[in-house]
Amino acid sequence: MFTADSPIFQQLAAKITDDIVSGTYPEESAVPSATDFAVFYQMNPATASKGVNVLVDLGALYKKRGIGMFVATGARDLLLARRRDEFREQYLQPFLREAQVLHLSIDELHRMIDETKEDLT
């Protein structure tokens, strides 16, 4: 469920982010409470809270007093924007580093991207 790569609370935040971005948690809908996440993923409740709070701090989740956590309007766009920022570091940098190791030219890379895009559609 959780790997040793990064702190567990961050991994939970990433999971929730994925679910919001993919539409599993639509905007203005309720998300499970930190306690629910804790029991579901068999993790520490305080750590789960920390993970949820990452999204609260970003403005993607907000708390309705007495009811629970809700997805904020615009959360999806907000998170997508963040993902775009992280895209360079998470995907492009490793991509280009590996390309360097393999001695692939920029033109070859462009071609591979186009071909792979074709395959995916």
Partner: protein, 311 residues
Amino acid sequence: MTNAIELHNITRTFGRSTALDGVTVSIPDGSICGLLGRNGAGKTTIMSIIAGQDRPTSGRVEVLGERPFENEAVLSRISFVRDNQRYPDNYRLHHVLRIAPDFAPNWNADVANELVDGFRIPARTPIKKFSRGQLSSVAIVLGLASRAPVTLLDEPYLGLDITARAMFHDVLLRDYSERPRTVLLSTHLIEESEALFDRVVIVDQGRIRADVASDATGELAFTLSGTTDAVDELSANQPVLRVHAVTGLKSVTIEGQADDALLERAEQLGARVGVASLPDLVVAFGAGTPDSSRPTTPSISQPAAQKGVRA
């Protein structure tokens, strides 16, 4: 943030052997803390002292603000079930369940019944004939259903099958959310239980080697692996905790964090630098020949209050 448990410079000697040597550690209220380390490291002794069943040779121990030894008020709020618990002759399960509430004011029979059913603990068999797993199950029932503000679980997993372990985690987390408490859990199944902890304490040879929040464990040590020559050069003046080598290849765990100079050099030499996982850490801290001149790892303290968690 108050501390549920505080140990100040605890030493415990048995005749000429030293089980605990200057142990200082604090467990915050409402924490689920993992107590990790090799067999014989001192984990059970620490728990025994916290539970008032043993007394330190020197040093101060406070649980919920008071010394636990022979202290009725505090003892009724502590639950400690050890891995080698013995029960009176002829006891069956119902005897245990019948008397436990008299010593645990917060006892919850529903939790007890749920666990008994889930673990399939036999009702008719005398406890002295129980298997290792069944004994652990009884211990967990006592430990969790007591809902004690300070719950100490010493190797609760012994003999439990994977279904039972998963159920134990479920009930622990659910009941903890229902009724928060401070939990100290010692185990060798580190990967399985790692996610449960918000705090981790690693003990080796009677000393505290690490005492940190669980998301700070990554800062405690790093791993370095590659060719023997490369690793030897890189680890030359570093505090090496553990060495793992075969012909030509070497992997070390080094205390602290890798600075930029080391990272650069490592890349040049083709060696890999990685974060030490919690299992890595426990192995590393349990590996060495004792270096009594080396100070214990300073603890990184837990920031701020924890939301909604009160014992």
